[in-house]
Symmetry: C4
Subunit: 386 residues, 4 copies
């Protein structure tokens, strides 16, 4: 096991994919302060183990009526095919194999129909708003997700504006993408990635194909994404989603208890506490620091989920101790693909699951619910004004 932790995979990934792909995956907004703070804030959560009651641990978790094997899921990463060509299908297969939820993105490189075929009841669908023509396309995506059998609809709230990604801008990773000498050199230095590209083909915005005039070339779908996906959902729009979608509805990107409150009043089923992995607002608090206040506010009225900064099973245990029912990772699974290749997402699923087991065993708890009782220190916990 030459890659015992995500850190090792990360080092390998850096060498194996082009610099613009690496920067796209790892970069944040502003000066990447938010990313560093997610890490530091998680590390600062201390948990005190109890001993003397060893026994087998159960990592299983029920989410919206489906049982998954571990409190870990795959967060949506738009244009994941840029990080590793073919990523969407590989993630879908890995999710199904590990029996963990995969929140496939509106901007994934395979369509929701294809993904559902692979991932079955591990399929969840992430939705961005396309407000044009009174949300015509938005609602069509919802309809398609339902038809495909997605178990949950995850509407992303935290991208009201296009946030600034300095590394991408500096790399010229913008629409329309123009190949430069630097791009060519970067790709040439990243042979494993180039081979994966040759096999999987150029990443597409597969979900968008029906909405542009055939043939759905990349420039056309990219242009469509660029012009149509904008703003976040208004609460008004959330109400319409609630009406249109019969299964579990999750709001992704909540950082303030009052927004959780609002979402619950509209009838959502899940609150995904997240700061988008530090990619939206460099002054946002570390997501883990707002988790306790939101979990307390939500209580049992909705399922609290968490992502942002999770890099190990121990991080998963931290989030569960602080109030989450389950967690998701964005970068971790793509780091797996980039660091190992096509089997990388399966590897990460196993790695994290095993680490959750070890953390639980070490902490002296046998089931996930008991994590909430673990003695902890969380000096960074955010105190909201009443």
């Amino acid at each position: 096991q030459r890659m015992p932790t995500l850190d090792y995979l990360e080092r390998a990934a850096r060498r194996r994919i082009p610099r613009f792909a690496w920067d796209f995956l790892e970069g944040g907004t502003g000066a990447d302060v938010g990313i560093a703070e997610n890490r530091a804030a998680l590390d600062a959560v201390k948990l005190v183990p109890r001993y003397g009651a060893p026994g087998p641990v159960d990592t299983g978790v029920d989410l919206f009526g489906t049982r998954y094997s571990a409190p870990i899921g795959i967060s949506p990463v738009g244009v994941d095919g840029l990080v590793w060509p073919g990523a969407t299908q590989l993630l879908a297969t890995a999710a199904a194999k590990a029996r963990i939820p995969y929140v496939v993105g509106t901007l994934a490189s395979a369509s929701i129909e294809e993904v559902a075929a692979f991932a079955g009841d591990c399929t969840w669908f992430q939705l961005y708003g396309l407000p044009g023509r009174d949300h015509l396309v938005t609602l069509d995506l919802v309809r398609r997700a339902e038809a495909a059998g997605a178990r949950a609809l995850v509407a992303t709230l935290d991208a009201p504006v296009r946030s600034k990604r300095p590394r991408d801008l500096n790399n010229g990773l913008v629409v329309p993408f123009r190949t430069t000498a630097r791009t060519v050199r970067d790709v040439a230095l990243a042979l494993p990635w180039a081979l994966a590209l040759a096999k999987a083909g150029t990443p597409q915005f597969a979900n968008m194909a029906p909405y542009v005039a055939a043939p759905a070339t990349l420039p056309k779908t990219a242009g469509f994404v660029q012009s149509e996906i904008k703003g976040t959902f208004s609460w008004e729009a959330v109400k319409r989603l609630r009406d249109a979608w019969p299964r579990a509805l999750v709001m992704k990107g909540i950082l303030h208890p009052a927004d959780a409150e609002m979402a619950i009043s509209i009838g959502v089923d899940g609150i995904l506490v997240s700061n988008h992995g530090g990619r939206q607002l460099d002054a946002a608090p570390a997501a883990i620091d707002v988790l306790p206040a939101i979990a307390a506010a939500v209580g049992s009225r909705a399922t609290v989920l968490y992502d942002s900064g999770i890099r190990s099973g121990l991080d998963v245990a931290r989030a569960l101790a602080l109030g989450a029912a389950s967690t998701f990772c964005g970068r971790a699974f793509l780091i797996g693909l980039a660091g190992i290749g096509d089997g990388g997402a399966d590897y990460v699923a196993e790695l994290l699951t095993e680490e959750v087991q070890v953390a639980m065993g070490q902490l002296g708890v046998r089931d996930l619910a008991s994590l909430k009782d673990v003695e902890r220190r969380h000096a960074g916990a955010f105190a909201f004004r009443p």
Copy 2:
């Protein structure tokens, strides 16, 4: 957009201007501790976004009866022409174009009259005290600023003594300036700067020309500055400024609520909270840390402005959330000029304005006033003794 943030511009600037110019711009006093703390203190201000109410944002701000397009202005940087030859005119033009206030300095390299011709009602004038002959020159400068149409007079309080700038002293950047082998080498390595110098000519203390015997050579005006500009204004002198100047009067460099109180009792219109970008007292608190207490003390009796450490639109949002009506940057605009060349100040104005919009959009506020309601954490906020 190869230069997506100030950080990128800064890296470019370092390569393009001579070392003594770079050190002059970036250096502080003592061990540059104050500069690092301005940065760290701003980064430590956390803001919690709210979602679900997207909409267009308005960055416009009224200051002393004039409307500007964004809560950003250009702070005075004396001898700016050393950093980028021709800077004063370029800043004046950029301010007018972006419709943001430009506080041109007593020590700028173009005169207040020239600047006002370019900048119109974006012209503000920064005043240093020349106590000689009962403030004869000071008051003449005030008169000239009024005649030129400056909208606000900004009197700098925070330079009661010549503070120590170790890097400048080490570089021999003192009056009289003597060219050394190192200077020559530094200039030779900084071609873009040398070309700008050839075009714009040696920077002058243009505002001082009337006060020395013609012809106003650089050695003569520099000697005049060296011997005449000294100390800060006494409150007595501030009263005389108040009497002499009919438009908005701003005190620059306030760090203590009691000084704000005193200024208000004399009838000033604005309080510019600033620690001079960390250049005066290495033990001074980060300026952002005293802002809330001063804003609370001032209330609505005067307009609270802020500078020191602002490097992004997000920093602007932080300062506004903590009580400022608008902000200013000293180094940022010169970093633009140094990093890009003549268009650099325009570029920075656009960059910061766009970043303010993104930050507001991301925070879920539509106008600047709402920033004050954003949930925040500001552990460094200074508690003054009652």
Copy 3:
């Protein structure tokens, strides 16, 4: 004295032993965060010296009826022979010579009988649980330890599951161990270690020999260890140890006052506060930070001992000031062997003892008990929920 502190020895050790041995000794779990925090937390404990009452200091300590010369002991390091071939015997001899307790491990490379022959009443025995066949082997080890004359039985509680050691996994240091090109190169670069290996022979799990079919080859005993040693002791099993062992019983690895309470209710004599040197749970608090709460809970009902992160006599003084009766070090003694060779453990014992004397003298205390009265600052002290 070219090696005045452990830091100097550590630098030497790094050069003298193979990389896999170094990583085995120094590595932790996860990202080695716990190790760094043990260090930082100890450094953060400030002690205020008192002057004016100089005098000779007494470092002697009574533990469970035996007098030792200093409040320092050797913690068990399983497979210590990997770090320095022949370590177990060398440690036993050093302990006897310095008159400090040596907690020899279940997994040591010499048997408890051999160790006791060298170490006499400085022998303590560390026990891991072998739950198979109703703890048959566990109890046989207890019997042997008693027969050999061990003064205390130290049952390790903090290894309920096999924790993850990323560096070992990356180095392929797993059972069965396979020699790779990298191993060979590492050994070749570490001549002193290779010579020690030639002299001492391959490290064995000497205590396990009776339990496998003769001849007890390394693969056989290693396989036995791998399959039989698992889980921690349950409180039920602790009760059986209590019944089976007539002398001092110590529980090692306690981090929570409630576990100390439980242990005391079963009748244990000692509580060894430890986070296993940061090797079990990367989110565990620094061991020193939980020491005061546990010492307060235990009071005089049991003897509180401490290990984890001790690197100097000053660290010993810190732990005693915060409530420990005596301390132990795992890595320090092996760093001595690795850094100097066969005399290294004796050297470390002298070094630490002398440092304890200096620290006491400097603090103005004459005996160990007075350390508890030293004025201190310990901002990191953990506050447990009531």
Copy 4:
């Protein structure tokens, strides 16, 4: 002014003196944690300037009836001649010229009589205890200091035991000193130092000459120092000093208010708060952090002085704001000598005095007493148990 601050001098010094001399001067005890914390703790003291009342500043200070020109003095550095051959005379001359007190050490390389001849009423004498023959030599030194006209006797309390100086031990800088190949190479690389040595001759323990059989060779005096100077003063011994010495008596190295209390009850005149520049106990609090509590305890019953970590006039201002009447520096003046050569101590005296003036001017205070009223933040201030 190519050397505008101590930092610049320090960099120069490092290149100009042999490594063992550098390590001797800069090194601390343990892992040099205490030195770093003195610096960090001073930097963490924030002072808020007040403006609007400019005016000339007065740095003069009365200490025990003598007026000095600035609140800065030279702390004793034993064997100063090792750092810069001829140091003691150069320091004495510099003190007299700048009119600041020089606490010449028992272990200085010129005798108290020689120093007093140069330094006049700027002479203070630092005393170590030589308890042999009922303090015969100690009291003879006191008598000589009185005869020589020293204004104050400064008895060092904080060296009850020989503290460990890892760098010196590693460099072989111990009695008897043996020249090694490394020593020779170090000296050869430090030409300025070698020249100074050639001029000034080998540093001597000049004060000890009368107490060894003539001729007083270095090995003889060094051996005498090694065997006779030991332990700190007991309070009993302090009483005898009080009786024997008619002028100002200062206790050096106080870190605990209760020790200050004890000293005052014996009738001492001054309390020098110091942690010996971080050289005695690596766990001691930063000296500046205990200053306020000690100053509060002492009140006006004695004169509170401060040293440890002072590197600028701003640091002086910090210490005065927190309760000291005046400050001292150990390393700073020797860094001056090492960095510049024979004129270096004069240079440092001017530099620090000018920096104190600038700091006062910038803070808006005109005399030293007003520094105590400056608004400050001192989060590290130590709270002693009642």
